[in-house]
C-alpha cells in the first residue's frame, strides 16, 4: 500500500486511529462526556476530510474505491455517528457508560460502514461488513444491567454469525467460479462465461440471504424487533439507519454490475420486496411498543427500498439514495426522541407509558409526530418525496404491481404511525413527567425536523447532488 493510498484512506484512518486513542486514553481518564465530544469531533473531522480532500488515487489496495459516491457515503455515516455521539451524551451519563469505550466503538463502526460502501473487492466487503457488525454486537448489549439488552446482543450475534457464514461461503463460490475477488472483474467474468453461471448464481443466492439478514428482509427479519427493543435507543437508531444504509449502498453498485443475469436476481428481489412490505406492515400494526413498531417499520421501508434496487439504473439508484437519506433522518430522529425520554432504569417505549405525554413534553412529542408522519409519507414532509421517487421509478419501469402494493402498504402503515400520535396527543394524561431534554438532544432533534421539512418542501438540491453521485 503506497503513501498515496494511505492518504486516500485518511478519513477512515482518522476514525480508526482516533477510536483507538479514545479507547486507550479512556482507560485512564474516566470522563465519558469528554470522550463522546472527542469522538464527535473526530467523526466530524473525518467527514470534513472525506468531503473536501480530493483523494489522489481511484482505488485503495484494489479493495476500496475513492469515488465521489464512496466519499459521499463516508461523509454520511461519519456525520450520523457524530450525531449519535452528540445524542448519547446524557444517555451515557444515565447508564454510566464509563470511559471512552462507547465512543471508540462507534468510531470503529463509522469506519467499517464507510469502507463497506466503498468496497470494490469481495474481501473488502467482507472485512468492512464484519468490522462494524462486530462493533454492533457489543454496543447492543452495552447496558450491562439490562437483561433485554443482553438477550438482544446474543440474538444478533447468533443471526449475525450465520449471516457471516453465508457471506463467506458466497464469496468462496464466486471466487472459485471466477478466480478473482475484485467485484467488477468477478461480475464481468460471470457474464462472459456461461458455464460459470450456476456457481455464480449460487453464490449470489447465498449473498442475498446474508444481506437479507443484515437489512432485515422478510423472512430473515425475526431478530429485528427484539434487537431494536433491547438495544440502547441511540444504537437502535444507528442500526436502523446507517448499518442498513451501508449495506444497501454497497449492494447498489454490486447489482448494477451484474449485467444480463440481473433478471434472475430481480425475480428474487421482486418476491422479497412484496413479502417484506406486506409482512412488515401487518406485523407493525399490532405493536404496542414504540421501538418494536419502528423495527417493523424499518422492515417495511426496506421493502420499499428493494423496489428501487429492483428498478436499478440511474432512476432506481437515485430513488434509493434519496429515500435512504429521508428515511434515515426520520428514523434516527424517532429513536432520538426515545433516547431523550430515557429514564434511569428503563426507556419509555410502551404506548401505555406515552398516554398524553404530548402535553407534558410538547416539543419532543411534536418532533416524534413529525418523524412518524414523514415515515408515513404525508406531505409536506420529506417522506412524501421519498415515496414519490420510489413509486415514480417503479411506474417508469413497469412495476405497476409493486407500486400498487407499496401504496396500499403505506396506506395501512398510516395506522401504526398515527397510533403513537394519537396516544401522545389525543388520550387522557396517564404518563409520568419525564426529564426535560438536554440541549444537545434538542439540537439534534431540531436538525432532523428542519431537514425533514426542508427536504419535503425543497428536495431539489439533494436530488441534484444524488444525480451527480451516480454515473
Amino acid at each position: 500500500m503506497s503513501l498515496l493510498e494511505l492518504q486516500a484512506l485518511l478519513p477512515q484512518l482518522i476514525l480508526v486511529l482516533g477510536g483507538t486513542l479514545v479507547l486507550v486514553a479512556g482507560a485512564w481518564v474516566r470522563n465519558c462526556r469528554l470522550w463522546l465530544l472527542t469522538g464527535m469531533g473526530l467523526a466530524l473531522i473525518a467527514a470534513l476530510v472525506a468531503g473536501t480532500v480530493e483523494p489522489p488515487v481511484t482505488e485503495i489496495a484494489g479493495m476500496f474505491s475513492t469515488s465521489f459516491y464512496a466519499r459521499f457515503c463516508t461523509v454520511a455515516w461519519a456525520l450520523l455517528i457524530a450525531a449519535t455521539l452528540l445524542l448519547s451524551s446524557r444517555y451515557a451519563d444515565l447508564y454510566r457508560y464509563g470511559g471512552g469505550e462507547y465512543a471508540s466503538l462507534l468510531l470503529f463502526a463509522a469506519a467499517g460502514m464507510g469502507l463497506l460502501s466503498a468496497a470494490t473487492s469481495f474481501l473488502g466487503l467482507f472485512l468492512a461488513l464484519e468490522a462494524f457488525t462486530l462493533v454492533l454486537y457489543i454496543l447492543i448489549a452495552f447496558n450491562r444491567t439490562d437483561n433485554r439488552g443482553a438477550e438482544a446482543g446474543l440474538k444478533y450475534l447468533v443471526f449475525g454469525a450465520v449471516a457471516t457464514a453465508f457471506i463467506a461461503f458466497a464469496i468462496a463460490l464466486i471466487y472459485s467460479a471466477t478466480g478473482t475477488l475484485h467485484i467488477a472483474e468477478a461480475l464481468s467474468g460471470l457474464q462472459h462465461h456461461a458455464g460459470l453461471r450456476p456457481l455464480g448464481l449460487a453464490g449470489w443466492a447465498l449473498l442475498l440471504v446474508a444481506i437479507g439478514f443484515k437489512i432485515s428482509l422478510v423472512p430473515f427479519h425475526f431478530w429485528t424487533p427484539d434487537v431494536y427493543q433491547g438495544a440502547p435507543a441511540p444504537i437502535s437508531g444507528v442500526m436502523a439507519t446507517a448499518a442498513k444504509g451501508a449495506v444497501l449502498t454497497a449492494l447498489l453498485p454490486l447489482l448494477a454490475g451484474l449485467g444480463p443475469s440481473v433478471a434472475t436476481i430481480n425475480q428474487i428481489l421482486w418476491v422479497l420486496s412484496i413479502v417484506t412490505m406486506l409482512v412488515g406492515t401487518f406485523s407493525a400494526l399490532v405493536q404496542t411498543n414504540l421501538k418494536r413498531m419502528l423495527a417493523y417499520s424499518s422492515v417495511t421501508h426496506m421493502g420499499y427500498l428493494l423496489i428501487a434496487l429492483l428498478v436499478g439504473g440511474a432512476a432506481g439508484g437515485q430513488a434509493l439514495l434519496f429515500y435512504l437519506v429521508v428515511y434515515s433522518f426520520a428514523t434516527f430522529g424517532a429513536f432520538g426522541v426515545v433516547t431523550s425520554w430515557a429514564l434511569e432504569d428503563d426507556e419509555v417505549q410502551d404506548y401505555d407509558d406515552l398516554q398524553g405525554l404530548g402535553y407534558l413534553h410538547p416539543r419532543r412529542s411534536s418532533a416524534l409526530a413529525l418523524f412518524l408522519l414523514s415515515l408515513a409519507g404525508i406531505p409536506p414532509l420529506a417522506g412524501f418525496f421519498g415515496k414519490f421517487g420510489i413509486f415514480y421509478a417503479a411506474l417508469q419501469h413497469g412495476y405497476l404491481e409493486l407500486a400498487i402494493i407499496g401504496v396500499s402498504a403505506s396506506l395501512i402503515s398510516l395506522y401504526y404511525y398515527l397510533r403513537p400520535v394519537i396516544v401522545l396527543f389525543m388520550q387522557e394524561r396517564n404518563a409520568r413527567q419525564l426529564r426535560s431534554g438536554a440541549g444537545s438532544e434538542y439540537l439534534l432533534l431540531s436538525a432532523c425536523c428542519a431537514a425533514i421539512l426542508f427536504l419535503g418542501v425543497y428536495p431539489g438540491p439533494l436530488l441534484e447532488l444524488i444525480a451527480r453521485l451516480l454515473p
Binding site: 404525508i378 406531505p379 411506474l395 417508469q396 396506506l411 398510516l414 444525480a467
Partner: protein, 489 residues
C-alpha cells in the same frame, strides 16, 4: 402582475402559525394573531376583487416558478373567477371559525395554529395548477383536520379522526399513482416531463387509460365531496369535530372535492368524464335522496346537518353531471352558498350546544322562549338551507334545476323532489329545537356581543347571495364556459 399577491395570500397564514407557536404561552395573543391573520387574508382577497376585473378572461392572477427540476415540478398558482370566489369564501369562513372558537381553553395556541394551517392548505388547493403542488396542498389538509377532530373533538373523536384520515388518504393515494402514470405517459409522448396541468391536458390517452385515470382521480375527489357511497366518514367527522372544524369541513374542505373535479378530473380526461356522467348523476341523485332521508332520521343535530351536506353536495354534482353552462354556474354558486349556509348552521348549533350542553334533538326544544335572537338567526339559516327563494341556496339550486332540465329533464324532475325533502328535514330540525315545550329553563343570556358579530355578517351574506347573486355569476360564467369547452382559461 409582478408582485406575488397569490403567494402572499397563500403563505400569510403560515406566518400566523409560526407566530402562534412563538407566543403559545399567551392565549390572548394567539387568538388575536389568528384573527388578524385571517382578516388580513380576507382583506387581501377583497383588494384582489377590487383591483382586477373579475369578468376578464384568462387567469386573473398567475404565478409560475421552477421548483423541483428533477421531476419537472413547478410552483404554479393561478386564480380565475371560480378560485377567486372559493378563496374569498375560505377567507371569510376562516374569520368566522376563529371568532366562534374564541373561548377555546385546551391548548389555544395549537388550535389556532392548526386552523391557520388548514386555511393555507385549502387556499393552496384552490390555486395550484401543478399536479404535485395541488397534491401537496390536498394532503396538507389532512393533518390539521385530523388534529382538530382528534384533540378538540367530543367523546368518539379519535375514531372519527382516524376514519376521516383513512378515507381521504385512500382516495388520494390512487390519485397520486394516476398522476405519476399520466406524467410518464406525457413525457414519453412529448419528451417533456412536466406536471403542469395545461401541458398534461394535451396528452393522448386511449379511452381505457382515460377511464382508469379518471376513476383514480375521482376516487380522491368523491371521498372529499362526499359523493354517495363514499360519504360515511362525514357524519362522524362532523359530529365529533369542534365548531371551527365543522365550519371548515362543511364550508371549505368539501368544496375542494368539487373543485378538484372541475379543475382537474374533467379537463384532464374529458372523454372519460363524458362517459361517466350518467353514473355520476345517479350517484348524485342517490346521495341527494339518501342524505335527505337519513338526515330526517337523525336525532343528533350535528349529524342531521352533516347529512344535509351530503344531500346538498349531491345537488352540486348533479349540476356538474348535466354538463351545461347554466347547471355548472348553478353548481359553483351552490358551492359558495352552501359554504356560507352550512357554516352558519354549524355556528348556530355550536351556540345552542354552549347554552344547552346537548346535541340531541329530543332533549332540546322551546329555544325561542328564552333565546329569541338566536332562534331567529337559526330560522333564517335553516330557511336558506332548505332553499327558500330570496336566501342563499335558492339561486344555485334553481340554476342547477333549470340547467339540468334543459339537457336531462328526468334527472331534474327527480331532483325537484329532493328539494322538498330538504324542507322536511330542516323543518323538523327547526321544530325540534326552536318550538315545542321548553325542555329546561334557560337562564343563559341571549346572544352576546361577539356572537352578534359572527351572526350578522353571515346573515347579511345569506340574504345578499340570495337576492343578488349576479356579481358572483359574472365572475363565474367566463371560467365555467372555458372549463366546459375543455379549453384553457
Amino acid at each position: 402582475m409582478n408582485f406575488p399577491l397569490l403567494s402572499l395570500l397563500l403563505w400569510l397564514p403560515v406566518g400566523g402559525v409560526l407566530l402562534c407557536l412563538l407566543f403559545r404561552k399567551s392565549p390572548e395573543s394567539c387568538r388575536l394573531l389568528a384573527l388578524a391573520t385571517n382578516l388580513l387574508v380576507l382583506a387581501l382577497g377583497v383588494v384582489i376583487v377590487f383591483t382586477i376585473d373579475p369578468g376578464s378572461s384568462g387567469w386573473l392572477l398567475y404565478e409560475d416558478y421552477p421548483w423541483i427540476d428533477t421531476f419537472g415540478i413547478r410552483y404554479t398558482l393561478g386564480m380565475d373567477g371560480i378560485s377567486l370566489l372559493l378563496v374569498l369564501l375560505t377567507a371569510f369562513l376562516q374569520v368566522i371559525a376563529v371568532l366562534i372558537s374564541w373561548q377555546t381553553e385546551r391548548h389555544p395556541a395549537f388550535f389556532f395554529a392548526l386552523i391557520l394551517l388548514l386555511g393555507t392548505a385549502i387556499n393552496g388547493v384552490f390555486l395550484a395548477l401543478d399536479l404535485v403542488l395541488f397534491y401537496l396542498f390536498w394532503e396538507l389538509m389532512l393533518i390539521p383536520m385530523f388534529a382538530l377532530i382528534g384533540v378538540w373533538g367530543l367523546e368518539r373523536r379519535v375514531y372519527a379522526a382516524v376514519k376521516f384520515f383513512f378515507f381521504t388518504l385512500a382516495g388520494s393515494l390512487l390519485m397520486l399513482l394516476a398522476m405519476i402514470s399520466l406524467y410518464l405517459l406525457h413525457g414519453e409522448q412529448t419528451g417533456v416531463y412536466t406536471f403542469a396541468l395545461e401541458a398534461l391536458k394535451q396528452t393522448d390517452l386511449s379511452l381505457t387509460q382515460e377511464l382508469l385515470f379518471f376513476a383514480a382521480f375521482m376516487a380522491a375527489f368523491a371521498v372529499k365531496v362526499p359523493l354517495f357511497p363514499f360519504h360515511v366518514w362525514l357524519p362522524d367527522a362532523h359530529e365529533q369535530a369542534p365548531v371551527a372544524g365543522s365550519v371548515d369541513l362543511a364550508g371549505m374542505v368539501l368544496k375542494t372535492g368539487v373543485y378538484g373535479m372541475i379543475r382537474f378530473a374533467f379537463p384532464l380526461f374529458p372523454r372519460a368524464a363524458e362517459q361517466s356522467l350518467p353514473l355520476l348523476a345517479v350517484l348524485a341523485l342517490i346521495g341527494l335522496f339518501y342524505g335527505a332521508m337519513v338526515a330526517y332520521r337523525q336525532t343528533d343535530i350535528k349529524r342531521l346537518v352533516a347529512y344535509s351536506s351530503v344531500s346538498h353536495l349531491g345537488f352540486v354534482i348533479l349540476g356538474l353531471a348535466a354538463w351545461n353552462q347554466t347547471a355548472w354556474e348553478g353548481s359553483v354558486l351552490l358551492m359558495v352558498n352552501h359554504g356560507v349556509t352550512s357554516g352558519a348552521l354549524f355556528v348556530i348549533l355550536a351556540l345552542i350546544r354552549q347554552r344547552t350542553d346537548s346535541n340531541d334533538i329530543n332533549s332540546l326544544g322551546g329555544l325561542w322562549q328564552s333565546q329569541p335572537n338566536l332562534s331567529a338567526f337559526f330560522l333564517l339559516f335553516s330557511f336558506a338551507s332548505l332553499g327558500l327563494p330570496g336566501l342563499a341556496n335558492f339561486a344555485g339550486e334553481i340554476l342547477i334545476l333549470i340547467g339540468t332540465f334543459s339537457s336531462q329533464p328526468v334527472w331534474a324532475s327527480i331532483a325537484v323532489i329532493g328539494v322538498l325533502l330538504a324542507a322536511i328535514y330542516m323543518l323538523r330540525l327547526v321544530q325540534g329545537v326552536i318550538w315545542g315545550p321548553c325542555c329546561e329553563p334557560f337562564d343563559k343570556q341571549d346572544l352576546l356581543g361577539r356572537e352578534w358579530l359572527i351572526l350578522v355578517p353571515l346573515a347579511v351574506l345569506v340574504i345578499f347571495l340570495g337576492c343578488y347573486p349576479q356579481p358572483l355569476l359574472d365572475s363565474l360564467s367566463g371560467p365555467v364556459t372555458l372549463l366546459l369547452q375543455g379549453g384553457r382559461p
